[in-house]
Symmetry: C2
Subunit: 407 residues, 2 copies
């Protein structure tokens, strides 16, 4: 891969589109996603003019850079948030997460049941659509809230922590689904219990390290002499938590977020905290995140609009309705005002990269590999889910900005 060329083109184009978005009173993220869609379309339409852009989403080096982008974004989110407040509101977050998970899950599965043809995989495919609508992309959410200056507000805290819960629950559901795909039977309870046990182990283990080991490490650091030690320590914690998450079957973003959350203000003094926060912010928003969001836009295939327009429209409608009713309704029940509840519902709607990860796992597991018998919806299910992930991520920040401006 022609590294510097790719980085130069992506950085200049995403930042220019981001500036354009801001001038049109939209969050920069919207511009970055559209930059990715435009570059992807240019690469597909004129492959000989832009040879370096061809096949970029499958390039191992490029995937590493976008993975680092997701990692830094989640680490930043953790560092930026105040753990006391996040845990103080954990009952409300959990309620919002469960509401914001069950309603879209049901809507998605029902939609699948109405449209998908009979096949041995039908039940699994329906549940997959449900899971695809149930997730919330934490990295996208973090970015949108940062763009709008709401990351550490009460509403922002509920959105991010509920989104983290949601992703954990969705990943468990997905692992359960793919695990039982081979035999086409109804999911087994024993496997579900095992997966839940792994999640519990992950939460306990990271809490133990975060509460006992991190502050001890912070005290030890004062006696060490090497230069720029704090950022090394921060990254070490992030890499370690990411590995623990992956070892226990979760996505690394969950680990990176918790590492940032525990490390943030408990381990280091205020001045060091500011330095680390500034460094993470510069590297994330000035370098890696724009490239990461452009890579999401790359995945769009416009043919799906022509192939299954009705199914796609209903899927998009369910994606927003599910989160508004489920997460927004739960927030309202927890005592949030109507406009705050609406913001929470919309804020949980972007599916971003996490959707792509989940769709990728399902694709690899062979969920779309049935003989579709010419059925257009099954043939386009993967592309439709990818399109939903991009569309929800582009549309949510626009609505959210409007909701926040009204309140």
């Amino acid at each position: 891969m022609d590294l510097f060329y790719i980085l130069l083109v992506l950085l200049v184009v995403t930042r220019a589109f981001g500036e354009l978005a801001e001038r049109l009173s939209q969050p920069a993220l919207v511009g970055e996603l559209i930059a990715g869609i435009a570059l992807g379309a240019a690469a597909a339409g004129f492959p000989s003019t832009f040879p370096a852009l061809n096949g970029l989403p499958d390039n191992e080096v490029f995937v590493t850079i976008t993975d680092l982008g997701m990692f830094f974004l989640m680490l930043f989110a953790g560092v930026e948030m105040q753990p006391e407040k996040v845990f103080e509101r954990s009952a409300a977050s959990l309620t919002v997460a469960i509401g914001g998970m069950l309603v879209p899950l049901g809507l998605g599965a029902a939609l699948g049941w109405a449209f998908l043809p009979e096949s041995p995989l039908r039940l699994t495919q329906c549940l997959f659509i449900g899971v695809a609508l149930a997730i919330t992309a934490v990295p996208a959410t973090v970015r949108i809230l940062t763009d709008l200056g709401q990351l550490d507000s009460p509403v922002g805290q509920i959105i991010v922590s509920a989104a983290v819960f949601d992703d954990i629950l969705s990943l468990v559901l997905l692992a359960w689904l793919t695990g039982m795909m081979g035999n086409g039977e109804a999911p087994g309870l024993a496997e579900f219990a095992l997966l839940s046990g792994k999640v519990a182990l992950f939460l306990v283990l990271t809490a133990a390290i975060g509460i006992f080991v991190f502050p001890w490490g912070g005290r030890v650091m004062h006696n060490l002499r090497i230069h720029e030690l704090e950022i090394s320590a921060m990254l070490t914690g992030g890499f370690a938590f990411s590995l623990i998450a992956e070892a226990l079957g979760l996505h690394f973003i969950v680990g990176a977020f918790l590492a940032g959350l525990y490390f943030g203000r408990g381990t280091i003094d205020e001045e060091t905290y500011e330095r680390i926060r500034n460094t993470l912010s510069a590297v994330t928003f000035g370098f890696l995140a724009p490239i990461f969001f452009a890579s999401i836009g790359f995945q769009v295939e416009f043919s799906v609009f022509v192939a299954v327009p009705w199914f796609l429209s209903l899927l998009l409608l369910s994606a927003f309705a599910g989160k508004l009713l489920g997460a927004g309704g739960a927030a309202r029940a927890c005592g949030f005002a109507a406009n705050e509840s609406a913001a929470i519902g919309v804020g949980m709607s972007p599916r971003g990269a996490v959707e792509l990860v989940i769709a990728g796992i399902a694709l690899e597991a062979g969920l779309f590999a049935t003989d579709a018998g010419g059925n257009l919806i099954v043939a386009n299910l993967f592309s439709a889910v990818v399109m939903i992930s991009v569309l929800t991520t582009v549309i949510s920040p626009m609505i959210l900005k409007w909701v926040f401006a009204r309140s």
Copy 2:
């Protein structure tokens, strides 16, 4: 590649060895190189215990991360130095660079002539040894001077700018050598003129952009609204200059350094300058540079000590003597004091990663692919040059620290 695992292991081990080095009153860089040597030896000795470390130097993702390490190190060096002072001393730098280039070039070629057997490639091989001794690894030099707090001192400025000149000259010589390797004839003057023209074009082009476009960009930036714009602009300049350098046959480190130098204090206000400097320092010294220096240690093959001990010892001696006499002598002639001249000679001695790049180019061009006829020196020439690059980089900072402490 198991990304987070590799990054975690390398970061923890290099920083621990760096701390150990500081406790033994050595620069952290020495510890990081030794960490790399230890990890490389562990991976080679126990391949089944450390499967993830096997073949790391050839892994495309790992090479990208170390390339980014070199890039950030050079960008930091450029940003940290004051361009006026660098250019003010450019006559002295150029004298030191030429002296520090010609003496090791002659010593290396003479050593080759004395030891290498008759073959069609003998002349080229001798000149290659000369070039290998003539170069100075700017990234290693920058790191050592930063560790010792001397990067922006008069001596530090001479070392870094002379090292940049040296690398440009060496890269031209190397391109000339490899260009004529095919026919085994004496190097042609026409090709040499073409290469020199490219270097002149590079210097003029980057100066024009740096002096006219960068300050204009700095004024435009004030009217833009996107977040973390400055670091994006800095990286854009760095990537662009790196690409220009590569397009004109130079190594990208030269471009990254000049981008940092021109961007640094001329384009942005003092507060932004401090923020960018802190970000680059944290990312470089707290994350990428330790991994990059460990990757140099990885390349060591201990068998060369047994195979050609005398040749290796003489090569190492010539590596230091050549720079001390050539660069140190030129500095003395330019009016530097004796201890300053000694520091300049030693400071120009580390060959670090640039040597590995040059050896790699020569290896690819087939310089060591002659039928050695059982000649041990030809068979071990590549490994010997790699060993010199690591040894000079480990030993120079130890001597330099002692020289600075005495003055």
